[in-house]
């Protein structure tokens, strides 16, 4: 038939994985058709206003929305990439025909290769009245708030403490919505400890071993009944509690969006560690159907950095197959990308991913460094409460307390091993180090540190502080990251809080660093009575209530 177009590569999905795949393939002259069902590119990045973790090489420390801008600009400048926006891929047939609905027309293509980067959908939860208006998925809340600027509610109960639950709670607070609590059915917090600590410092309760039983309300959510769970995930009697709220936000995990893969009868398996039913695939991201690749969350739930690298691997693999030349160079790049992935997944937080991958026969275990697989400290208290233990803190403070007398020094309150390095890369004096592995915990060399405050704005986890103990005879100056509006003014009095979100004293704002260099994470220096220099870790502007 003459109305079928032959193309080299179709990439389905314009999120971080799809964009990276298209770029990697077009680097080697492959002609790409990039189909995205929405009218804009970027996938989930469009609502990620927070800074990313990961390695600086893959944009860590940059906000998701800014990563997106760079990727899109790059894609738009490529002549080899044809972008089909508002174009839904409707079918992938056994004879390799792909149908795409574009501009009210069903177009047909025969590609030499397909990369599916369709992402994931949110999981739903079964509880009484779960169909009441006001029960949202976290993704919907984030879209309303960060994409369309619409407040979803006044007071929200967050269900689930994975990174999405924690990050969205924080963003709700930034938008002026109050968060009644974050509840988590597991006995420990699911996301990174730094995200939990950010919420704790703002006084948000994080209740582990708690679940939602019931949404309460007549025509819409007016509250929720939660209860406590025992070690066997069974409800403990008489622990029911009513929480007043006008919305319930579900953040209970993602599952790969494999519909198009099922159409093509790709082999799928259930792997709970990777979010549910996932396609079987090899380490070049190729599925059980030749020349059909996957990348990003559709291949198993991970995060955006891994998605971008997987996109590169699949794009490069397609390029290597179609491109006549440069095969060795492409192969070298593929190997580099794979190494990067292994590094990202090699710490303790990557354990789940590693376990899931080994279930589908992808065990890169031989490359993992045993010494970094274990947590350095006992962080069980931190992962239960969001507050670091005394021992945890002691280990990161200077051993010789006299060092506090030398002047301002940076204190890193990062206690969990996960792949992240912006603090290390930001320090102009090389005073912060992770000992050569991105998964290690960063330590400050207090001799080298000048207290310059650059790291305070650069840490994506808001876990860097600068403490000047002897600011005056009786007071200390604590520099803290601040991401709320309106900003405090110089000389203003603020309420100062500890790591648990409890108010401890009054403080005076001395200095605010808030230029484009800080990129919206201001470094605010607050003068506090000297006895609080080890406790003061947050403040609130008085006329603002974000409880």
């Amino acid at each position: 038939m003459d109305n079928i177009e032959n193309v080299e590569l179709i990439v389905v999905g314009g999120g971080p994985a799809g964009l990276s795949a298209a770029l990697a393939a077009s680097d080697y002259g492959i002609k790409v058709v990039l189909a995205e069902e929405r009218e804009f590119l970027g996938g989930q990045l469009i609502k990620q206003t927070h800074r990313f973790f990961g390695s600086e090489k893959e944009y860590a420390g940059t906000r998701g929305i800014d990563i997106l801008k760079r990727l899109i600009e790059d894609v738009k400048n490529r002549e080899d990439i044809k972008i089909l926006a508002s174009s839904r891929v409707l079918g992938i047939y056994e004879d390799n025909v792909v149908t795409i609905l574009n501009n009210n027309k069903m177009k047909k293509y025969i590609p030499q290769a397909i990369i599916l980067a369709t992402g994931a959908s949110e999981k739903f939860l079964a509880f009484e009245n779960n169909d009441l208006p006001g029960v949202f998925g976290a993704g919907a809340v984030q879209t309303l708030m960060n994409v369309y600027g619409v407040l979803p509610a006044k007071k929200i109960l967050m269900v689930g403490s994975g990174n999405i639950g924690l990050i969205v709670s924080y963003q709700l607070l930034q938008a002026g919505v109050s968060v009644a609590a974050v509840i988590e059915a597991a006995p420990k917090i699911g996301g990174y400890s730094v995200h939990a600590s950010k919420l704790k410092r703002l006084g948000i309760p994080i209740l582990t071993s708690h679940t939602i039983k019931k949404a309460v309300g007549n025509k819409k959510v007016e509250g929720a009944i939660i209860c406590e769970l025992d070690n066997n995930w069974q409800e403990i009697k008489d622990t029911e509690e009513f929480i007043e709220c006008d919305a319930i936000c579900l953040s209970v995990g993602l599952t790969p969006l494999i519909d198009l893969l099922k159409q093509r009868k790709v082999k799928t398996v259930y792997v709970s560690e990777l979010g549910g039913y996932i396609p079987l695939r090899d380490e070049n991201m190729e599925t059980s159907i030749m020349n059909l690749f996957v990348a990003g969350d559709v291949s198993g739930i991970e995060e955006a950095t891994a998605a971008m690298i997987e996109g590169q691997i699949s794009g490069l693999t397609v390029a290597k197959r179609i491109n006549k030349n440069q095969k060795e160079e492409i192969q070298r790049k593929i190997e580099e990308a794979k190494k990067e992935l292994v590094l990202l997944r090699s710490g303790p937080v990557g354990e789940k991913i590693r376990k899931g991958l080994s279930k589908i026969g992808l065990n890169h275990g031989e490359n993992y460094d045993e010494s970094i697989l274990k947590e350095e400290f006992d962080i069980s208290y931190l992962m239960k409460t969001g507050v670091p233990s005394k021992e945890n803190l002691e280990s990161k403070f200077p051993k010789d307390k006299k060092i506090f007398d030398k002047g301002p020094i940076a204190i890193s309150e990062c206690f969990q091993k996960f792949p992240c390095d912006p603090c290390v890369k930001s320090c102009p004096f090389n005073a912060i180090s992770e000992n050569g592995n991105i998964n290690n915990i960063p330590y400050v060399d207090f001799e080298k540190c000048t207290g310059c405050r650059i790291c305070v704005s650069k840490c994506p986890g808001l876990a860097m502080f600068v403490v000047h103990k002897n600011y005056t005879e009786t007071s200390s100056l604590i520099t803290m990251p601040y991401e709320f509006l309106p900003r405090p003014k110089k000389g203003e009095l603020v309420n100062v809080y500890d790591r648990d979100g409890k108010i401890i004293c009054e403080g005076k704002v001395i200095k605010i660093l808030d230029s484009s260099f800080q990129d919206k994470t201001a470094a605010v220096s607050v003068e506090v009575p000297k006895e609080h220099f080890l406790e003061a870790r947050n403040f609130k502007v008085r006329y603002l209530k974000h409880e």
Binding site: L90, A126, E128, N129, K213, G276
Partner: protein, 95 residues
């Protein structure tokens, strides 16, 4: 817990009670439950209910969840108008 107030399939308004009843009546695959209850046949095509039903089947029948198959998915993915299919064929059919 009142099972009749717990929605499993939001598109087709199917409750946990109905799903459990079906499983007890011997419909123990997602495909079978879809055919008698219409779960997964709405606009979301099983994205909300699929995993929840798989877990119910697993718990009631004792089958490990790894052995439970998802429903079949066929083209087209999402709704399409006849006009949109015909548009591509050319003017002669439109007239």
């Amino acid at each position: 817990m009142s099972e009749e107030k717990i929605i499993i399939c939001r598109c087709e308004d199917i409750t946990l009670e109905e799903v459990r009843e079906a499983i007890k009546n011997g419909f123990t695959t997602i495909e079978e439950i879809k055919r008698i209850l219409r779960t997964g046949m709405g606009p979301c095509q099983g994205k909300s209910c699929g995993l929840l039903i798989a877990r119910e089947i697993s718990q009631i029948t004792g089958t490990p969840i790894e052995e439970i198959e998802l429903q079949n998915i066929r083209p087209p993915y999402g709704g399409i108008l006849f006009k949109e299919i015909l548009n591509n064929v050319g003017d002669k059919i439109e007239k």
